[in-house]
Symmetry: C2
């Protein structure tokens, strides 16, 4: 308050400002960054929160901390973003860690791997369970610092041309699915396929593949899979709660004033919450439209889920034997998950169970 | 970057700063607020996020936007916080809307009322479903602007000296429970009691009351209810996802620079997410300790839940007849809730169901 009054004092105010200004200028430098996203703009619920966050950061700093955003492929390919940040070509990227599973399976653990946990449990692990600290200690080797920045919620299990009820039905099934999830279903006889999102519809239509997983109702609707592969399976057991991270070059992060780091952290956390809210708000109506367009909802059978769970645990065991970092972080994550579900079944899950039952009679 | 280089230029730099400084000073004024919480400091998972948020706001503004925090009763009583903000005695408060249900039942809708929704659905309604906008349009009559700032997650149904299985068991039961939830159970024959938290243990011990609800394992453990009322019921059907809001005097809010408003909003949202993460991370171990200390977990019977649901809907119907604002906002909330659960049972709930089933065999 004093400062404002002083500034209004004409010449005396200007003289006063000349003394005070260097401190302000030092703590609020002009910073201009470039951020490459691993997502196309068409996935607006994924890309949108990056756009929103950077506008909020600019507003919070009176335009002094500017981050220019680029969609996947504009300046860096979707899977090359981490390399570009590591090398210092760009200051930061928006990517889910499992996009780099081929480079390093430990990075999948910070996003999501099959049969882990739901969104709130994931956030509890990251923010309050020591998870994000473990992640940041580990990713130092890539010369980056990471901040959680979004989550889609549990994804769907994908679109299938024919029903799959038994393990026998999975044998030889050509399924567009990537990463560790692809390795899990491969153990059940599925043939995982890597196909860009834009080519998936025509591959399904021509029968080049039998099934494809993408995200959930809101995003899936845009690609019109319902027309050619109407059996819509759930849950996406490989993505209960995928976290999208921001990855920032370590030197660039450390060079930020504390105030900008704080503004960045809270903008990322606020938009982490908001990305989930966007999906949660838009998925119900999209699901209604998909069902009206012919989508046939199907739950994966216990036979398939049990076998996939066993296969996933075998993969985690194998990775843990050969990779001490994977073992350490996976075991931390799994122990946290087991405790979470112990509590979950008491209050949260029973509340949802009650509401689902009561709604049917209201 | 230019500015920093320029500033290092000695005398020329100081002259330059004298020109640029007034703009900075105008956009970053010194602001000093007082915030009264409705919670005691002993409820550290509820009060803590306020403390954290205000420190983050100070850090983000290089100490220029300072908010001094006071626990319930230090400068304003727990239920007088809104009046104090409305009157301009203090700039803001941290309170759940249902603390003011006696003053105005519409204010309970912004926090939680019986049989509504879970945390993610509540956040989706507030941030992406138009809910927070409806709330802020309504609370203008109290000369305040509100920002969501926390959520405990689904609470427990309370501690009972004896088991309650049937509606008959509820007749005449003296239960410490407040607000609309108290009205709901009163319709089932319960006699709601209003007792300060600190007096609840001795009331239970002496048999002055038969049961008491508080929050959930982490907070309940501190009050040691397990020693005198070991039957621990779930779910707290009247608090599936209570939101804590920040309430700010309208003029004070409007006088903030846009940058401070942005910093405040994201700090509140980040700590909304974090409060839930704190509870989710701490409740499992607290529950284990309570069970080891003798807590007997019990689910409310369908007979009791069905009757309570019917009673709640009767209360909503009555309030809707006499209060057009309640009707309008309640119906918006209910319609959103119904759509949310339609989607929830597909991906999210089936993911949790799967994990609870598989965990038992791992």
């Amino acid at each position: 308050m004093k400062r404002r009054t002083f500034m209004a004092g004409g010449a005396a105010g200007v003289a006063g400002a000349a003394v005070a200004a260097p401190a302000i200028a030092q703590t609020m430098p002009e910073v201009s960054w470039r951020c490459a996203s691993s997502f196309p703009k068409s996935l607006d619920a994924l890309y949108g929160p990056l756009d929103t966050m950077t506008k909020q950061i600019a507003e919070a700093t009176d335009g002094r901390f500017k981050i220019q955003c680029f969609a996947a492929g504009e300046i860096v390919g979707a899977f090359q973003t981490l390399d570009a940040v590591s090398a210092g070509t760009i200051e930061m990227c928006q990517s889910p860690g499992y996009y780099f599973v081929g480079k390093d399976p430990v990075l999948a653990l910070m996003a999501d791997v099959p049969f882990i946990m739901n969104v709130r449990q994931r956030n509890a692990w990251l923010y309050q369970g020591g998870g994000q600290q473990l992640v940041n200690d580990y990713v130092k080797k890539y010369n980056v610092h990471t901040v959680p920045g979004g989550n889609t919620g549990t994804q769907m299990g994908g679109w299938f041309r024919k029903e799959v009820r038994t393990l026998e039905d999975l044998k030889g099934l050509k399924f567009r699915i990537a990463g560790l999830a692809g390795q899990v279903v491969a153990k059940l006889g599925v043939v995982p396929q890597q196909i860009p999102g834009g080519d998936t519809y025509s591959s399904l239509e021509r029968g080049v593949i039998d099934a494809a997983e993408w995200v959930g109702p809101y995003d899936d609707e845009k690609l019109a899979f319902v027309r050619v592969a109407p059996y819509y399976y759930y849950p996406g057991f490989w993505e209960g709660a995928p976290t999208v991270h921001y990855w920032i070059g370590t030197e660039k992060w450390n060079a930020l004033p504390k105030s900008y780091q704080q503004i960045f952290n809270n903008a990322a956390a606020a938009n982490n919450l908001d990305m989930t809210a966007i999906y949660d708000a838009r998925n119900p109506a999209a699901l209604r439209r998909l069902v009206a367009a012919g989508a046939q909802l199907r739950a994966f059978s216990p036979e398939i889920l049990d076998a996939a769970y066993k296969a996933a645990n075998e993969i985690y065991d194998d990775l843990s034997k050969s990779n001490a970092d994977f073992k350490r972080i996976y075991e931390h994550l799994r122990a946290f998950r087991n405790e979470e579900y112990l509590w979950w079944q008491v209050a949260e899950y029973s509340f949802d169970t009650m509401m689902l039952r009561l709604r049917q009679r209201s």
